[in-house]
């Protein structure tokens, strides 16, 4: 990756800087484990080409949901000791790998001061195995280490132990908004001087039978057959029929300008602002009028010291479910006003599926690289726009654009809304 180096004048050429005397929050490292590949560049290649990385799932028994975004070829022992690999579950391993990559990418030597991790289910996949063992074999034959493989905070704890992070190490679980909220928390930690260097991450491992079956019972997942895997995730399209589940992890290194300058760090973007709200409305459905989601966007922009009209790119949540995409369209219209008709929108889940608690940071990597390359990635599979979704979602083909400010927004079960505003490096 090539990005701007911080100069001695602190001129990182960002179009807009954080308001007041607050610390600027720069992105100086990126680590990824995604269904589109294990590097930011491979993820970006898929996103920018609109090339879906969705494939058929191999399940122990048939489910209505047959496709997903699988992280293939992942060997935890490439990133951790044999002992760590033996004792940990997939969600811990994915986050660990992404964190080590982000740290190396940033060239960090000292321990980060804090870590914020978003995950929707943590080791929910392990929980199912744990309970199965109990029912089948009795408590005394359960996995003795099983609990440590499923508790949601055990992924962050593993990373903290490895990197000696002794400040705040917090796991945030706000469903699909989890890691977007983690970015916001990390931004505030750097901005407020709690730590100079912070890791923010997201992880999800939910492609196991019980998790998928549970979501199928909520009728939340696409039922497209395996042979239509690449066409299954189609946000804002008339023929969308539900989320396409994906696993993955991503970690960003957030750093104060002072620290980045001191280290001569390469800067990949700036976190300008963030906000979170709750619909306080329904366990799974968003508010149809998008009012609270819109408020989140407005608050994030206000936190960045910007008018919403300054936003050049919206990275939509775009779940490919009938209700969500319609409500998100309403939210964008409310938040951006007339600018909603002009702002470029992209829906990364059309390419990488829905990584639930990891989607915020994973999709933010796409935002950072879109800003870097001044290129709006397309929304794949948007063949027949839904008449109720009538904005410019960049259907099928991407395009160059002068992107200096972009917003990443994610909305989760429980009415969780979160948004982060990024600026150019």
């Amino acid at each position: 990756m090539t990005s701007a180096a911080v100069t001695s004048t602190g001129a990182t050429s960002a179009a807009v800087t954080s308001a007041g005397a607050r610390n600027r929050v720069l992105v100086t490292g990126i680590g990824v484990e995604s269904c589109a590949g294990p590097t930011p560049e491979e993820l970006w290649a898929a996103l920018s080409a609109g090339r879906p990385a969705i494939s058929a799932l191999e399940l122990e028994q048939p489910l209505p949901c047959q496709v997903g975004g699988v992280v293939t070829g992942f060997d935890p022992r490439e990133h951790m000791s044999a002992q760590q690999a033996r004792r940990t579950s997939r969600f811990q391993q994915l986050l660990f790998a992404a964190a080590m990559k982000a740290r190396a990418h940033a060239g960090l030597r000292a321990a980060p001061g804090a870590l914020y991790v978003g995950t929707g289910g943590g080791g929910l996949d392990e929980a199912a195995r744990f309970v199965t063992g109990l029912r089948r074999n009795g408590w005394s034959r359960m996995d003795r280490l099983g609990l440590l493989r499923l508790l949601p905070n055990q992924a962050a704890g593993l990373v903290a132990q490895e990197l000696d992070i002794q400040g705040p190490v917090l796991t945030i679980s706000t469903a699909c908004a989890s890691s977007t909220d983690a970015i916001g928390a990390g931004m505030r930690a750097v901005r407020d001087g709690i730590a100079d260097v912070v890791l923010v991450g997201g992880v999800e491992s939910w492609l196991d039978l019980p998790c998928l079956a549970s979501f199928c019972l909520l009728d939340a997942l696409s039922r497209r057959p395996a042979e239509q895997a690449a066409a299954a995730s189609r946000p804002f399209d008339r023929d969308r029929d539900g989320m396409v589940p994906a696993e993955g992890a991503a970690v960003l290194v957030l750093e104060s300008e002072r620290s980045a300058l001191r280290r001569g760090a390469t800067v990949h973007g700036e976190v300008l602002g963030a906000a979170s709200t709750c619909d306080a409305h329904h366990p799974v459905a968003p508010r149809a009028d998008g009012a609270t989601a819109a408020r989140t966007i407005e608050l994030a922009c206000a936190d960045a010291g910007l008018d919403t009209a300054a936003v050049d790119l919206v990275s939509a949540h775009g779940t490919s479910t009938p209700l969500n995409d319609r409500a998100e369209t309403a939210a964008i219209k409310r938040a951006f006003g007339p600018h909603a008709r002009h702002v470029a929108i992209t829906a990364p889940k059309s390419v990488i599926g829905h990584a639930c608690g990891a989607c915020g940071v994973l999709e933010s990597v796409g935002v950072l690289l879109a800003i870097r390359d001044k290129y709006v990635p397309p929304t794949a599979n948007l063949d027949n726009p839904d008449p109720d979704c009538d904005l410019d979602y960049t259907p099928l083909v991407g395009r160059p654009a002068p992107i200096n400010v972009a917003i990443k927004q994610n909305f989760g079960f429980g009415g969780q809304n979160s948004a982060v505003v990024f600026g150019a490096a």
Binding site: Q83, R86, R87, G138, W139, S140, R141, M142, D143, R144, L145, L148
Partner: protein, 89 residues
């Protein structure tokens, strides 16, 4: 049924290969965690190592130590582990 002590030693060194590499002497008297007597050998296992050891021994010998009165806090030496396993056979 294999003799217990060699299996316990084998599993300890599998879990903690550094002990094998350092040619540490592992006997019945070796303290699992730490030794109050500095002249007594201590393996310096941690609680995760100990749990993993019990899992391995349960599988190796087909026993359920969790269903016995054995508590990990009662296991201080390699000999304690050997006795616990032997008692469950």
């Amino acid at each position: 049924m294999p003799e217990v002590l060699p299996v316990v030693i084998k599993e300890i060194t599998r879990i903690r290969p550094d002990l094998r590499e350092s040619h540490a002497s592992i006997t019945r008297e070796s303290a699992l965690f730490y030794a109050t007597d500095p002249d007594r050998p201590a393996l310096e296992l941690d609680s995760m190592d100990a749990l993993e050891l019990l899992v391995a021994l349960e599988q190796e010998f087909g026993i359920e130590l969790a269903a016995t009165s054995t508590r990990t806090s009662d296991l201080h030496t390699v000999g304690d582990v050997v006795d616990a396993v032997s008692g469950a056979l």
